[in-house]
Amino acid sequence: MSSYTPSSRAARVAANDGDDLHFCSTCTFSSVCSERGYDKSRLRDLHVLVEHIGPFREGQHIFREGDRFNSIAGVRAGTVKTYITDRNGREQVLGFFLPGEVIGLNAISQSRYPCNAIALDEVLLCNFSFSKMSELAASMPGLQQQLFRLMSEDIGKATLLAGDHTADERMAAFLILMSRRYASPDMPARRFRLTMPRTDIANFLRLAAETVSRILKRFQTDGLVRVERRDVELLDTTRLMEIASNVLRN
């Protein structure tokens, strides 16, 4: 079946996969390792397991809550959603992971994954054996720092929308944050495609799906954004930032 709409084809193309001597273009660890003179062949020498896995199809689970934790994974292409199911059987979306971002970090303190991860479209991953990575980090302060930074960002993401914020504030903050995360040199973040369905965004923001659409319609009428299917263009970032300021301050 065809993908649903054609624009921003570049966004769907897998990241530059690198080769034996170079990292993938999306790799979050590439700069810290490169700076220290480690290229991929060197890492292999160090017996760090770096393994490309996937593709995962839309709707396929990458790991499930309770699975043994042994690796973290960088997203090379596609979007991953993490979620838990509450006692009433209701799904609760915890977050979305875009190319260049790392999943599994919230499992580091435990031996099992505390949530499910599912592919929202075709997903390619790069698996890092966590134990090997920890060993390497001990002798590579840059890598250690990068890990800490990723972990704190991850925690930040999860708590960001937990505060007592209005629906408008949440929506505006979500758009601002997503535009930052979608930013890349060859794709201006003023325009980006939200690869997650409306219901997942609503669930993540703890809003009703109708509310997400209603707010976006109003934002559109007010000239803040332009929405076309899943594509968003931010027309007035300043005003969006104002609306989101209560959320983003944290």
């Binding site: 079946m1 065809s2 993908s3 649903y4 709409t5 054609p6 624009s7 921003s8 084809r9 570049a10 939200l194 369905p197 409306r198 219901t199 965004i201 799906a209 109708e210 997400v212 659409s213 976006l216 319609k217 559109q220 332009r226 929405v227 076309e228 299917r229 899943r230 594509d231 968003v232």
Partner: protein, 478 residues
């Protein structure tokens, strides 16, 4: 970025169309009418219920899901009009309508849950066949059920329309239909000339017709459309001129002038029409020219393809604003909807897909009785399909293509992507139908009456090895 974009802000059609019979004569090709692209012959049976459900789910996933447009097909007619190429069943047995209604209600209850509840229905259209084969009460039951299962918009711009055979409806019925919320009516007239009416087996008096038009206006319907046909057997310039004068006096907001397509191998009823009685190409052109002259002379604005509207009609306003759209129901101001087709042979356009219900009554009935969604064929549109659909839509509605807008929206280099189309367009440029600038491809005032020939340059399925161009599968372009 797709054919049904919500905000279609394009340069307005500024040129007045010029009818050039000599040019039309030189392009007597067959061509699709582009109520969809790709056209229905591209649909295939590998597309089924599962695919339809996936596309529906995807359509709900949009940030602001599209509104919904509902089409209801009523296949029954009391008698056969010989020119007809529609999917219909001739009967006088009203009981059949009751059985059909039952299954329609079942289909509505099965299809509605595919769509998120907050998606508003902006358009309802009853087509046929003869929708008024069903009584106002029966039509009311359908509307009731749709209103319960879907979320009807209460916007004043919603369009709830019905095709009406004036021979089988009373002014009282029209008032009842208006009370049901139907605010637009489309009346089949074709030609008032008795010889023509006899030859096509549709005898319909002027009085009867005008009474229905008046009833529509009196009951507060927002607009009335009248269908006329040129190229019918026994048609003369004098007779057609009288028909045009009579209709213009009744001032319907919209008028469609269709060219009769004689394809008896496809449409059995047309075998009743003797070819000798058909006007030749010269005569067809003269009849069309006459219609164009009389209608524009009476203040009607040419919308595109076969359609005209008074300047204060929503269609004319939308065209001037650049927000006109085109779908299976013709020109509309609501094509940015997902179209859900109900009833035998009905076509849906959901997300980037087309799908069609079985064209035979038995196939449709069996599917519903077995609890399956009655889809028998369709197709998913890929990148190329979507891009070309958008271009053809722009051509049909705005008579021009905004090259830069297409390049921005689809991230392509227009000239290299469409080098083949550019080659085909060259001939039309020579003929003065098209002008090409660095930023736009524009149908000239002469080209405005040959939009489908311009659109055909962009049809990727016409140029493929198993080309179906120049074959009588499609109706004549003129």
């Amino acid at each position: 970025m797709h054919a049904r974009k919500e905000h279609c802000i394009l340069p307005r059609m500024t040129t007045t169309p010029v009818f050039d019979a000599e040019l039309l004569r030189r392009h007597p090709q067959y061509g699709p009418r582009y109520t969809s692209y790709p056209t229905a012959p591209q649909f295939h049976e590998a597309f089924g219920e599962r695919e339809l459900r996936l596309h529906a789910e995807r359509s709900n996933a949009d940030l602001i899901p599209r509104p919904i447009s509902l089409y209801v097909h009523v296949p029954y007619c009391f008698s056969p009009c010989f020119y007809c190429g529609c999917n219909r069943i001739i009967t006088r047995d009203l009981q059949k309508g009751e059985f059909y209604l039952e299954r329609l209600l079942r289909e509505i209850s099965m299809v509605a849950p595919l769509f998120a509840r907050d998606r508003e229905v902006m358009q309802v259209h009853f087509g046929g066949g003869t929708p008024n084969f069903l009584s106002p009460t029966q039509l009311g039951q359908i509307l009731d059920s749709m209103g319960r299962h879907f979320h009807f918009s209460d916007s004043p711009t919603r369009d709830f329309s019905i095709e009406i055979d004036p021979r089988h409806v009373s002014p009282g019925d029209i008032a009842k239909l208006a009370q049901l919320g139907l605010n637009r009516a489309s009346l089949g007239v074709q030609d008032f000339n008795p010889d023509v009416q006899q030859a096509v087996n549709r005898v319909q008096s002027i009085e009867q017709t005008l009474a229905v038009i008046d009833a529509c206006h009196d009951s507060g319907m927002r607009s009335v459309n009248v269908d006329l046909i040129y190229g019918l057997p026994q048609q003369t310039l004098e007779g057609f001129a009288e028909t045009l004068a009579t209709i213009i006096k009744a001032q319907p907001g919209r008028l469609a002038i269709y060219g009769y397509a004689h394809m008896p191998s496809l449409f059995r009823a047309q075998k009743q029409i003797s070819e000798e009685q058909l006007p030749d190409t010269e005569m067809r052109l003269a009849l069309l020219a006459l219609a164009v002259e009389r209608l524009t002379g009476a203040g009607y604005q040419y919308i595109g393809m076969d359609h005209f509207a008074l300047p204060d009609d929503d269609l004319a306003i939308a065209q001037t604003a650049g927000s006109l759209q085109r779908n299976f129901m013709g020109y509309t101001t609501h094509a940015a909807c997902d179209l859900v087709g109900l009833g035998v042979s009905a076509i849906s356009h959901i997300d980037e897909s087309y799908s069609q219900n079985p064209r035979d009554l038995a196939g449709w009935e069996v599917a519903l009785d077995e609890g399956r969604l009655p889809v028998f064929r369709g197709m998913s549109l890929d990148f190329d399909d979507t891009l070309r659909a958008d271009i053809i839509q722009q051509l049909m509605c705005q008579a021009e293509i905004d090259i830069e807008e297409i390049e921005r929206r689809y991230e392509i280099d227009f000239n290299s992507y469409f080098s083949g189309a550019r080659e085909r367009l060259a001939k039309l440029v020579e003929d003065g139908l098209v002008e090409i600038t660095a930023t736009h491809i524009v149908a000239t005032s002469k080209g405005r009456y040959l939009l489908r020939i311009i659109a055909m340059c962009f049809d990727n399925y016409l140029t493929s090895p198993n080309s179906h161009g120049d074959s009588p599968r499609f109706s004549k372009a003129v």
